[in-house]
């Protein structure tokens, strides 16, 4: 049966199929080395103290000089849900979900940043004035 089928292909046919196969393999390799998805990175005084993917729900307790700030990751967004600072600016900053988004609890020395992720998800502005 196989020979009956083989006979119906020309040399060029086989070449084309082989080349397309090469392309398939190449595309697999390419897809494998694409940059990772969005990550939440938390820094305290310049050191990274926490890192986690944005895609999995998680609660992170981060300690700083004032106490414990809790960052919650849910629905692809990171949010500060509690913090020992006096003015709670960090909690009022809303969710961070896109590459470059920043949350910070300044009194507690914590910076929460979104890194990685797709460039197309960036907001329509480079910087936010507030």
């Amino acid at each position: 049966m196989i020979s009956a089928l083989w006979v119906r292909t020309t040399v060029l046919d086989r070449l084309v199929v082989v080349l397309l196969l090469v392309w398939v393999v190449a595309s697999v390799l390419w897809a494998a080395q694409r940059p990772a998805g969005a990550h939440v990175v938390v820094e305290r005084d310049g050191q990274v103290v926490f890192s986690a993917p944005l895609s999995e729900p998680r609660s992170a307790r981060l300690s700083g000089p004032l106490g414990e700030t809790v960052v919650e990751i849910e629905d692809g967004r990171a949010r500060v849900i509690s913090s020992p600072c006096p003015t709670k600016v960090c909690m009022g900053m809303g969710p961070a979900s896109r590459y470059g988004d920043l949350l910070a609890c300044v009194p507690n020395h914590l910076i929460v940043r979104i890194e990685g992720g797709r460039q197309e998800d960036t907001p329509p502005y480079d910087l936010l004035s507030r």
Binding site: L15, L19, D45, V89, D126, S129
Partner: protein, 332 residues
């Protein structure tokens, strides 16, 4: 087997495309983005250009410069010019930089009839707005803290600064941050950086455009809805500073008290919700944003007529939008 040449060409092109694709996507340009906690907020510096090492070095130096200005002008740091001035009774010499900042500040204080003020140190300490436990003080304490403030409170006889009353405490909060940003930009430019942004918690200055390709796009946050924008600006080589009643505040007895005080009343200013100023320097933009916020839309726009190089977007206390004459040119 002899193959038709066009097919070979096609096939080779396809292979080439597959193999070269990753390389075509890349560019000869680097982006260095760093953030640090300075000036009481997150300062983020972004620098673009071909030489990554140069960018990294310049950004590092820029942060060091901001730190230096903070050491010089912060009221909370022991050895700063500002702390020394606040503490002492007699005239004090200050660095030329502090003098320059004071000069603009005093000029603006006079022009704004006291809406802008550099001597609110006692008032801010009274409210505890930058501390752990802010609270609403009683009327007498507020009146006492306002004693002596105003455009006449300080006299600059370079290099000396004379206080009209010994108990006056300086606070350059509405202007020194802008100066620090200007210095950072200066250092970046001096190091050879052509495209950069220095963003201190929403107050920023841009150097050049975004990588030589397009202008910087700056979003202005809506004062009541953090997910919305008031406007998007397309700018290059200018400073954009926003003062808003939503940035730093505390609540007591169901009322909100924010950190931008009206020197004439001693209470948080109520005329505006948000003011964005676009100006050639961050120091000017910072000071004007503070002054206009207190003055309100009508008087604010009048004040801006003295500074044709500055433009503003004002959201008043009812949420209505006002613009200075040429602000629309920046809007996308």
């Amino acid at each position: 087997m002899p193959f038709h040449r066009p097919i070979m060409v096609l096939v080779l092109l396809m292979l080439a495309g597959v193999l070269l694709w990753p390389r075509w996507g890349g560019e000869g340009s680097s982006e260095v983005r760093r953030s640090r906690l300075l000036l009481g907020t997150v300062v983020e510096i972004t620098a673009l250009g071909p030489d990554r090492d140069l960018l990294e070095g310049a950004v590092s130096d820029a942060f060091a410069e901001i730190e230096r200005i903070e050491q010089l002008m912060s009221p909370h740091i022991e050895g700063s010019d500002v702390a020394r001035l606040s503490r002492s009774d007699s005239p004090q010499p200050v660095s030329p930089e502090t003098a320059a900042v004071l000069r603009l500040g005093l000029h603006l204080a006079a022009q704004s009839n006291g809406a802008f003020d550099l001597t609110l140190g006692r008032l801010k300490a009274l409210w505890g707005i930058e501390g752990e436990t802010p609270q609403v003080p009683d009327r007498e304490a507020v009146e006492d803290a306002l004693r002596g403030i105003g455009p006449q409170a300080l006299r600059l006889e370079a290099p000396l600064v004379v206080k009209s009353r010994p108990e006056l405490q300086l606070d350059l909060g509405g202007i020194a941050k802008g100066y620090a940003i200007d210095r950072a930009i200066f250092l970046l430019a001096d190091a050879g950086v052509e495209f950069a942004s220095v963003n201190a918690g929403g107050d920023m200055r841009l150097l050049g455009d975004r990588g030589g390709k397009r202008p910087w796009r700056i979003g202005i946050q809506h004062p009541r809805d953090p997910q919305r924008l008031l406007a998007t600006l397309e700018v290059e080589d200018v400073a954009v500073v926003t003062s808003g009643d939503y940035e730093r505040y505390f609540e007591q007895d169901g009322r909100r008290y924010h950190h931008l005080f009206d020197p004439r009343t001693g209470y948080p200013a109520t005329a505006c919700r948000s003011v964005t100023v676009v100006a050639p320097s961050a120091m000017l933009a910072d000071a004007l944003a503070t002054a206009v916020f207190v003055l309100g839309p009508q008087q604010g726009i009048s004040l801006l007529q003295y500074y044709p190089e500055a433009q503003a977007l004002i959201i008043d206390s009812t949420g209505k939008e006002h613009q200075s004459a040429d602000f629309a040119e920046y809007r996308l």
